[in-house]
Symmetry: C2
Subunit: 800 residues, 2 copies
């Protein structure tokens, strides 16, 4: 029986998309400015679209290849259904759609923000944040719509829309994992490709423009300046959007998988008002309502004072953010109360079944919301302008680039301390509260406000672009001042957004990890087994090598850019005087090509290694359960190391960036005010150059790496014995209590455990416990034969 | 019964020490040069001793504190004997003794090498390597002497020198772990303190001397130059010596623990010519013979041609190294054949008992020797002069310090790829060959040539010092040219030595990890349990934070040095003209104080965290077995992350160093020969500044961090249930087969499993299997009561 509740998330998603559409119309209706501004903004728009088009063309081949591979798996593995291919393709398409939509609106909003900044700061914030809202709601709406929609379709296809058993639901969810895999695969390339693109353009533009030619940032004479602005959109908007789209879907999916196992632990079915699948629907419902509360949150983001500074703008964003988090917390309480049985049985590893009140699940969601908020604060502490760690880096700049770099590295490294302790605490607490279902719901609650988070995130690069357009169009200084305020806040939100993204990726991966273990049916991952330990090592190494590849890619792509800009400066007459027109398109093309070329190797590494770890041991005849543990060890290694390297790189990069920025307003070093252009500032610029690929390419890519690794594990799981494909197990456990008439008052308990193998042979273990005067005597007998034979023997044995 | 074999390692150790003494006498007999040289060398000698003295004074407090803590543990935990305190103190003293001895000879050899270089290069190599040999043999000799000696004493104390049971031997080895803990604790402070010392002096001397005052390296006018030269000895000689001393002892100990469990798996005792403890003696014997073969290896290190270049010197070192490795391989074959039963039973996790031929143990030792050699080659590839990765960093220097730093970081990160794959392969292969005993013996074989490795290692800083003395004494140019050749080879051996040290630390930690699991009696470490997973995260974070602390310490200490040097330049009249005498002692004191102050926090982190993880959950009432798993997860996290960060930091640092050095001979960048003093060279100097603390402070400290963490775990293990201290378990399993006389031919099997709790209550599970016509019927009954009551009931039940 279908419950109406199953459709609620879809309704929420549609409300979100409708609101998005209205907001989009409003943004597009805003004045897009005059000639020069429009021209530049069109260049950016076209450059961004050109990249997306080239990327999607390439990814089409990938999706086709992966689909064929998945179809092969579904052909070989009986429990993997061919529909997984359809789910995969839709996941990929939805993710691409979300990215496309977000990027289009971002590149339309930038020039409108510039134009709005000509009138007032409040209006500029309204427009830029409006663009961010469109992006956020688009991503969240499509994620919930796609996932819930597909779930309903699969639920009806495999189970006729009625609860039958955990095993059937597992098949539904395994197929649904295809949707998540599709989304995350696109995210990988969007994040890595986008990250390489943006930093290649940025570094290339700076090295020749600022350093060699001595022209300022965003100068229209620099051929790479358009590519640089395109990069902001490609990396920070589309990349971040795809990342959170993937997290969102994967988190909810993992929570659904674990909800399914809660039902199993409760005896295989529950009786509730939601067709017996309340624990499975809950994460979708939380996601759905999260969209609603994000909308309310976005409405609160506004300022009134035209003379407002960074603090007020940041305050407005914080208000909206905390409001949506608080509302989500309330909705979690209501939904948990409403949708979950008052008490549930949950299997705790090594401790057996425990009775858990539904309130503990609510507390777990609070843990998730808390982590999401606190991680952002920790990130802000280590990377924000004027904080102690950043000021320390500024001081170290006075003794040269070397000490600046050391200080930045150390800051990034130290920042793992509170971050990891918070993660570890969250894992421990949410598990202690409600098992791995609790961990998954903590992640779901945290992700519920994704729309709001993304709105805040996307607002940054839009403002950055708006400033660039103001500069390139040579608008009055106050316009740039206003956009600079927005841009500066955007830098902080970019850092905290990265904190949120890695926190979500970490919790998502844990939930996926838990789902993986339950899917494979292994009883844990024992790192005392040498092959498992070896894979833990290998897994730990992957994020490090991945980061190095991404960094090297940026270096190579930036060099390409440098050569092209140098060529244009030399060959185009009048370019430096502003009379010759630079060939912006050439630079955009170089960044595009380099990004697409360079994202292949990290992609292959990410996707290839887990497959290799599953396939190679199979070929040499390892036991499937051992392989499942090995792959689990690999996943754990990637997750632990990936989180560490993400936090390290993001925060080091953010800290260097703001250490450099500190010089703009001037800083006190050894009792002297020091400004831009000083030796200390030059040292800080070096640090920032190192930090650029850290914080915008390799660091954020870690999120996808760990999520995708765990998702691939989840898709491989059925092959490794999610269901026993050789024997069909039919378990009949009958417990009867009879009173033996012959002798004195005795109680007799009979339990029967029947198993039928694939070739029809039935094995039954029958145990009779007879209790006389409080002392129990057990008789056990095993019968093997056809079903009838065994039944007859059991009857005979019972009579004894 | 004692076997003579138990004394063989001691004899080998004494031979090694005797040879060392002779070599030492020979070195000291060499000409120590004239006035100025002697004066400078005396400064270095005194500075080094001053540091050691101050360090040992501080460490005395630590040893007293730790001894009291250990005594407390032995008081509370019945199975931990008070003798562990004695073992701990001796371990600490032996380690300090070895460091002291090595440093003394190194600081005496440096000036003699300078003097020898005035005559010829072969003679200079002979002297400098002679000093290294003294260091190597001293460390290895003391390690084997101390460990074996203590084992014999404890073996006689607890077991009267006769095999009784695995349990008794476990108590012997648990007590012996105190020796290892003592050695490793001293190593921690020696490594970290030495690392901070050497880099504070180096960076401080360079920043003011080279950069500000524009005087060359090792200029006697620089007040920090003596501290710099002292640092080479403190860090590279004493630190490395203590590190390998600790590895050596810990590896052999872990192998002995696992040998004890091999005997258990073989039924609790074996009958061999070695008093039934062949598998326990084997690792000691391999270590003992390793000393002998290291002596032979050192004899092969010589060159004849006075015009030899780096290649010939490196070739001579390689010949000696490979000869000792080859001889060790042969001795492993003979010893394994001789000392182990032809086939053994070993428990393989999840696979049960397996019959393993002793040859497979031999193959495992080959795996260890192979890894030791190959890791050095990999390190050389990523860090050597003229290799592809180093040349790539050189190229990137042309676009500035930022790109140079990025390239260096990426090189260090990428180098984890082959390294980790080799480790993972070694774990997998040696385990597949002979279980965790195989892993431990792989490590033992690798460590057997420690004396040779250390001789090669210590030769580097001795030659570096010799060059410094030549420079400061203004000797003829050809002297410096000769010492430069030795120094350059020394740089390569320093890098490969670090590769060896981390490989040994990794394998040692794995062996300790395996010993820990067997000590605690848990059946594995399941990272699917959330608290265990949380601790895996926390463990992974520790090496990152530790590295950051070490790097920051170097920064702080270097700043102290900078201020002092600046002060002297300003206040001492005539210092720049060479007429005023710098106060070298002040700089030595600053480095000493800073090193001792700054090593506290990383030390507390290393020692405190594992204790916290054991104690905190105890206080909130967690199950001991779960705590044991949590601590195991922490150990695994530290090991995996520590190995990664060690390889990353060591290799990045080494690569930067040699990228900078490449400019001395000139390099081709974009078709132009580029030399010292160019902008590209300046960028490379920045990279080297970043790499200095990486490769000499934080990177090498990782070795100790992971070993000490695992050792602390091992010492805590008995508290967490190595022996069940609450209930004394008495297992009586009697299987009788009787023929029931009453009915038709039936067979009856009776098994009894009796357990006695601490308060004397006996619980017996009795199972009777009756087989009639091939069908088995089982009756089980449980009886509880006093011993007599239960026995009576069993008799009654049997009669039924």
């Amino acid at each position: 029986m279908d419950s109406i509740m199953i459709y609620v998330p879809i309704i929420m998603a549609l409300i979100g998309l409708a609101f998005m559409w209205a907001k989009r119309a409003w943004v597009l209706k805003q004045d897009a400015g005059d000639g020069k501004m429009k021209e530049i903004s069109d260049y950016i728009y076209e450059g961004a679209l050109a990249f997306l088009k080239a990327e999607y063309r390439l990814l089409t081949f990938f999706v086709i290849g992966a689909s064929i591979a998945l179809a092969g798996i579904s052909y070989i593995v009986p429990t993997t259904h061919i529909l997984i291919v359809v789910a995969f393709i839709f996941g990929a398409v939805f993710s691409a759609l979300a990215g496309n939509m977000g990027m289009k609106i971002a590149t339309k909003t930038n020039v409108r923000t510039t134009q709005a900044a000509r009138t007032s700061l409040p209006q500029a914030l309204k427009v830029s944040f409006g663009g961010g809202t469109v992006m956020g709601l688009g991503v969240a709406g499509l994620a919930v719509l796609g996932l819930t929609g597909f779930f309903i379709i699969l639920f009806h296809f495999f189970m006729n829309g009625t609860w039958t058993s955990t095993e059937d639901m597992t098949i539904v969810l395994e197929t649904l994992a295809g949707f998540s895999l599709g989304a995350e695969s696109i995210a990988l390339f969007a994040r890595v490709g986008g990250g390489i693109y943006t930093k290649a353009a940025d570094v290339g533009a700076d090295l020749v423009g600022k350093v060699e030619a001595g022209i300022p940032e965003d100068d229209p004479r620099n051929p790479a300046t358009i590519a640089d602005n395109v990069g902001d959109n490609v990396g920070d908007v589309a990349g971040m959007g795809a990342d959170l789209f993937g997290s969102y879907v994967a988190t909810v999916l993992a929570a659904m998988v674990l909800g399914n196992y809660v039902i199993k632990d409760m005896g295989g079915s529950i009786d509730d008002a939601f067709g017996g699948i309340g624990p499975i629907l809950l994460p979708m419902a939380i996601a759905g309502f999260g969209i609603l509360f994000s909308i309310i949150g976005t409405m609160l983001v506004k300022i009134k004072d035209n003379n407002a500074k960074e603090k007020e703008v940041q305050g407005a964003l914080n208000l909206g953010n905390w409001a949506s988090i608080a509302l989500t917390a309330i909705s979690c309480f209501v939904l948990v109360k409403y949708m979950l049985p008052e008490t549930m049985n949950m299997e705790f590893f090594g401790e057996g079944l425990k009775e858990i009140s539904s309130m503990r699940v609510f507390y777990a969601t609070i843990v998730g919301l808390f982590v999401g908020g606190v991680i952002s604060s920790v990130t802000e502490y280590y990377t924000g302008l004027g904080t102690k760690p950043v000021l320390a880096i500024v001081q170290k700049s006075s003794t040269g680039a070397g000490t600046n770099v050391i200080a930045g590295l150390a800051t990034g490294m130290i920042s793992t301390f509170p971050t990891v302790l918070i993660f570890a605490g969250a894992i421990w607490a949410s598990y202690a509260l409600a098992g791995f279902y609790g961990v998954a719901l903590a992640a779901s609650a945290m992700m519920a406000t994704t729309a709001m988070q993304l709105a805040i995130d996307a607002f940054g690069p839009i403002s950055d672009n708006a400033g660039g357009i103001a500069e390139m169009s040579e608008l009055p200084k106050e316009v740039r001042t206003r956009t600079d305020i927005l841009d500066s806040v955007g830098n902080t939100t970019a850092a905290t957004g990265k904190g949120f993204a890695i926190a979500s990726a970490a919790l998502t991966s844990l939930a996926l990890f838990a789902a993986y273990v339950t899917f494979t049916g292994i009883d844990g991952i024992n790192i005392f087994k040498a092959p498992v330990l070896a894979m833990l090592f290998v897994g730990g190494m992957i994020p490090v090598v991945f980061s190095a590849l991404a960094m090297n890619s940026v270096g190579k792509a930036a060099m390409d850019m440098v050569y092209e800009v140098r060529r244009q400066f030399k060959e185009i007459p009048g370019i430096m005087e502003g009379t010759g027109k630079p060939e912006y398109g050439k630079c955009v093309e170089i960044s595009t090509k380099a990004a697409l070329r360079e994202m292949m190797l990290p992609g292959i590494l990410t996707i290839g290694f887990p497959i290799l770890i599953a396939v190679l041991p199979m070929l040499i005849g390892y036991d499937n359960k051992l392989i499942a543990e090995m792959l689990g060890g690999y996943m754990a290694g990637v997750t632990v190391s990936g989180v560490l390297w993400a936090v390290f790189q993001n925060n080091a990069g953010g800290a260097w960036d703001n250490a450099k920025k500190s010089f703009e307003a001037g800083v006190m070093i050894n009792g002297e005010m020091t400004y831009k252009g000083s030796d200390a500032h030059k040292a800080a610029v070096t640090g920032d150059t190192v930090g650029d690929p850290f914080k915008d390419t390799s660091g954020p890519s870690m999120n996808i790496l760990i999520k995708l690794t765990c998702l691939i594990g989840l898709v491989i799981a059925p092959i490794l014995g999610g269901h026993d494909v050789v024997t069909v197990v039919e378990e009949v456990v009958a417990i009867e209590t009879v009173v033996d008439e012959v002798t004195s008052p005795e109680s007799k308990e009979i339990s029967i455990d029947k198993t039928k193998s694939a070739d029809g042979v039935v094995t039954a273990n029958v145990t009779i416990n007879t209790t006389v005067d409080g002392e129990t005597k057990t008789s056990t007998q095993t019968f093997v034969g056809t079903d009838e034979e065994v039944n007859a023997k059991i009857e005979e044995f019972k009579k004894q």
